[in-house]
């Protein structure tokens, strides 16, 4: 293969520009580690595609950009990717606001975007674009699964500590909706501003409410600090804490003590490799590519996001937008966590939700931080209905 | 005591002092006179080490000063009363006076020395805890002089001390300089009130355009009609 003349390579390249996938993620800033995992796994998906011969020999390429977790920057970067880099697809984002910003740009320009971060808004008709797919879970699904597990088990009196933004509100809404089935009693919802570093002024009040369950609906650093301080205030002694979304990176950053006993949800955990061959294959490939490292939840999303798009390209035999959209809509895939597919009306990936608990002993390796309590199987009934989302059925 | 030779100083590119040489002996009162912009202030600033760029030689008590920063010069016994008074905003009169002592060896006798100076300037005594910048122009001038005097320097440089001071007090002030001299303090005085200044000074230098154009004893200058015509009496 090394004998190919340079001349030919040039020709080939000229004929077949690579399939470009724009990948805006927040490489800098507080979620840099998660973003890095997204990139790693995205690269893996691209490498696998290329190793398998690409699209009739045409290779794919990931064009990574730092969106700095800022929607404005993300929009600019997406414009760069679309207008200058002329990418065929965009996959990425780590926050709701950023994905909506990217979505707004790609929607207007008819570019396929596969979003790999959580949001309920992206499913709704107002923001929906036929070019946009949502590989990640959404708050409704996550909190639903966690709620169904927890309300049955820990009690009916529930209090909430919620980050005061769309994502937090969406999770509470999800919990309350499930709560109706269980007749839970809502003792109160205390909302804290995003980026709060001290919860000491909120915790005594929550404690005074004497709930069975405290739902902490926030994310990242807010969640780490809230859990840490809740531990300090001794809240866990009498109250079960649940969080809709527990991320691998947060758990590692905050340490086992803070997360001890907290129950929450996630879309992916490497430990389900015993259950799904696809997970095993993904884990192994990832290990192989990154010296034994295991993929995290966000990494898996990066993988899934890129891989499904490339799969659809292969299926469609083309990179033409409309054909790829059709192929994605038709796709039934099991790439890393069991069977999944994109629902027709809102392009939400219908998938399983894992209910997990942080663990602090019997760890098999440094990535072994959660224990899977239960798995909620993929089912459209756990999603908000297409009508509720405002889609014409 | 103070010897300056071939002193040159610049503001940016403009050459403000050109080869100024002068000397002050211990216990003398020496006067610098000259028109506005002649370079009197610049000379004092160079001696105190406040000019960015200065060349030549300034020796005080035998020590070369030109490379030394201002605070070291103070420690050697030099004091300076700038022409714009430079009363520190936000401090009271007392604090301004204390400031005159913080770096001095006499610091332990602070209260005593403040009383002493207050006796000399009764007006300041009345105003001890007033914010200093709200005082009248003349009061500020007194404070500036008091602040420089309080640490008992060996040589005090005064830049137009009588500016804005009422006549009775000007007389008193010059009387004060005379008594300072009697106590062994040397005085280098820049003054527009030339007649008065020459009345207490031994010698004087006349500056013009950044250079010394004349030097003589005070009597000789007072007798000199041209000097009188030019620099004296309003």
């Amino acid at each position: 293969a090394l004998a190919v003349s340079p001349f030919r390579i040039n020709l080939l390249q000229a004929e077949e520009a690579p399939i470009k996938i724009g990948f805006p993620v927040p490489l800098t800033g507080p979620y840099g580690a998660e973003a890095q995992d997204q990139v790693r796994a995205g690269q893996l998906a691209v490498a696998q595609f290329n190793d398998a011969g690409g699209l009739n020999g045409r290779k794919a390429e990931l064009v990574v950009r730092d969106d700095k977790l800022n929607p404005g920057e993300a929009a600019t970067r997406t414009l760069e990717l679309v207008e200058k880099e002329k990418v065929n697809f965009v996959v990425g984002s780590l926050s709701a606001a950023v994905q909506l910003a990217i979505n707004n740009v790609t929607k207007e320009r008819g570019v396929i975007f596969n979003s790999i971060s959580q949001s309920d808004a992206i499913n709704e008709a107002a923001d929906f674009s036929k070019y946009t797919f949502h590989e990640a879970l959404n708050p409704h699904m996550t909190s639903g699964a966690v709620g169904r597990y927890a309300f049955a088990k820990f009690g009916k009196k529930v209090a909430f500590l919620t980050a005061d933004y769309a994502y937090g509100h969406e999770m509470v809404r999800g919990f309350l909706e499930v709560g109706k089935e269980f007749n839970v009693e809502n003792l109160g919802d205390i909302r804290h501003p995003l980026g709060t570093t001290d919860f000491s002024t909120l915790l005594p009040r929550l404690q005074a409410l004497k709930p069975d369950i405290l739902c902490i609906s926030n994310f990242g650093r807010d969640q780490q600090i809230a859990l840490k301080q809740a531990t300090d205030f001794g809240i866990k002694k009498s109250i079960q804490i649940i969080a809709p979304l527990l991320s691998h990176a947060s758990r590692v950053a905050a340490g086992p003590q803070a997360f001890e006993g907290v129950v929450g949800g996630c879309s992916f955990y490497w430990g389900i490799e015993d259950k799904f061959a696809s997970t095993k294959a993904f884990n192994d490939a990832f290990r192989k590519m990154y010296d034994g490292k295991l993929p995290t939840d966000y990494g898996a999303l990066g993988y899934g996001g890129v891989r499904t798009v490339l799969e659809a390209v292969k299926g469609a035999g083309s990179v033409e937008t409309d054909k790829v959209v059709a192929a994605l809509e038709a796709l039934k895939y099991d790439d890393y966590k069991g069977p999944q597919y994109y629902r027709k009306c809102d392009h939400q990936s219908v998938q399983s939700v894992l209910v997990i608990k942080s663990k602090s002993k019997d760890m098999r390796n440094e990535s072994d931080v959660f224990e899977v309590l239960s798995t909620e199987e993929p089912n459209e009934k756990y999603l908000r209905t297409c009508e509720a989302l405002g889609h014409k059925s | 005591m103070l010897q300056i030779s071939k002193l040159n100083a610049w503001y940016g590119a403009s050459h403000a002092l050109q080869d100024v040489s002068l000397e002050v002996s211990k216990g003398e009162i020496v006067c610098l006179i000259g028109r506005n912009g002649a370079g009197k202030t610049t000379t004092l600033k160079s001696i105190m080490g406040l000019m960015g760029r200065a060349r030549g030689s300034v020796t005080f008590k035998g020590e070369e000063l030109l490379r030394q920063p201002a605070h070291v010069r103070f420690a050697l016994g030099l004091a300076y009363v700038p022409e714009e008074r430079r009363i520190v905003q936000g401090l009271t009169v007392r604090e301004n006076l204390r400031l005159g002592l913080v770096a001095s060896k006499e610091k332990k006798r602070e209260a005593e020395l403040i009383d002493e100076i207050a006796a000399i300037f009764p007006r300041l005594a009345e105003r001890m805890d007033q914010e200093a910048v709200t005082m009248s122009g003349g009061e500020q001038q007194m404070l500036a002089i008091a602040r420089a005097m309080i640490a008992k320097p060996d040589l005090i440089m005064l830049d137009e001390p009588s500016e804005g001071i009422m006549p009775v007090l000007v007389d008193e002030m010059f009387e004060l300089f005379r008594s300072m001299k009697a106590q062994g303090t040397t005085v280098l005085l820049v003054e527009q009130n030339v007649e008065l200044a020459l009345g207490i000074a031994e010698r004087a230098y006349v500056l013009d355009h950044g250079a010394v154009v004349h030097q003589a004893s005070a009597q000789a200058l007072l007798a000199d009609d041209e000097i009188k015509e030019r620099y004296c009496s309003v």
Binding site: G29, P30, G32, A33, Q36, L187, G188, I190, R191, H192, P193, G195, T196, T197, D198, S200, T201, L202, P204, R205, A208, L209, Q224, I225, K228, Q229, D232, F233, G234, A249, V252, A253, A254, G255, Q257, A258 | M48, L50, P69, A70, H71, F74, A75, A79, P82, R86, V88, Q89, G90, L91, E95, R98, L99, G100, V102, A103, K107, R147, A148, A151
Partner: protein, 294 residues
């Protein structure tokens, strides 16, 4: 409002004071540096953060929290001295803008260096064993460590107050900020004073970072949030006034905790609303002297 009792309000007040303590600690360093050097130290948050990381590092190589309490301020203080000497000193006399820009750049550099050295994700920072748990303070249980923070802050304040009041340092500091030249003429080596003040200010910042670490864990960005809030504290108290910073820090803590009780989502904006009101009514803050920096 359900569940509002006297005990709860009292506990809430206490939580506010504890929260205020960290603000105070952070803000006095800021205020000191500003009041003296007229340097708006945008890197103060970075010093705070580095303080926490140095503590983390010392513990990882076998030190303990008590050693850190001494070693961290010294280390950060020395670092501060170096920064003043090399970077800040050339800027004196150029107004407040340039030091501001420089320290802004410096905070970028420091944060990024920490990211390179320690990674982007944060680390947990365990509360020292003897200070774990909560104690009954009469109105309810309160974490012991937070009480410790209040105490440590009080000690630092007392030491600083003694230092400024019992020496002429305080006077020199105030005068030097307005007219360094005249202070020099009066025999004080102002550059040395500035150097020391900057060192003290940063040492306190590092100390605050260390104290905050067991409360929130450490991440490279931890200095950013507190910086904005601490600016509020310094300004409300009056720039350059230590007493003002203390009063305002505690006030801000209490205001935050009280808003948390009634409208928690407004906790953050309440800080800024407070500042706007204070400054509109009293433009120089509680103890600030009019005229400084105008």
């Amino acid at each position: 409002m359900a569940g509002l009792s006297f005990d709860l309000i009292a506990l809430q007040l206490f939580a506010g004071l504890a929260l205020g303590a960290i603000y105070v600690l952070f803000a006095i360093g800021l205020s000191l540096i500003f009041g003296m050097l007229t340097v708006v130290n945008f890197a103060h948050g970075a010093f705070y953060m580095v303080g926490a990381y140095v503590g983390l590092y010392l513990i990882s190589i076998g030190g303990n929290f008590w050693i850190c309490l001494v070693a961290v301020p010294i280390a950060i203080g020395l670092f501060g001295l170096a920064v003043e000497r090399v970077l800040i000193r050339p800027l004196y006399g150029r107004g407040i803008d340039y030091p501001l820009l420089l320290t802004f750049g410096l905070s970028y550099v420091m944060v990024e260096c920490v990211r390179i050295a320690f990674g982007k994700t944060g680390y947990p920072f365990d509360t020292p064993e003897v200070l774990q748990g909560a104690v009954d303070i009469g109105v309810g249980y309160f974490p012991l460590y937070r009480l410790f923070v209040i105490g440590a802050t009080a000690v630092v304040l007392l030491a600083l107050w003694l230092f400024l009041e019992k020496t002429s340092f305080g006077l020199i500091i105030r005068a030097g900020a307005r007219d360094p030249q005249i202070v020099r003429v009066l025999g004080v080596d102002v550059s040395k004073v500035w150097l020391i003040v900057f060192g003290i200010g940063t040492a306190i910042a590092g100390f605050a970072g260390l104290l905050a670490a067991p409360l929130q864990g450490v991440i490279p960005e931890m200095g950013g949030t507190i910086l904005a809030e601490a600016f509020v504290v310094t300004v409300v108290g009056g720039m350059g006034s230590i007493g003002g910073a203390v009063l305002a820090g505690l006030l801000v803590g209490v205001v935050v905790s009280m808003t948390s009780l009634f409208a928690p989502e407004m906790a953050k904006v309440s800080i800024f609303a407070l500042m706007a009101i204070v400054l509109i009514v009293r433009p120089q803050g509680f103890f600030g002297r009019a005229g400084l920096m105008s």
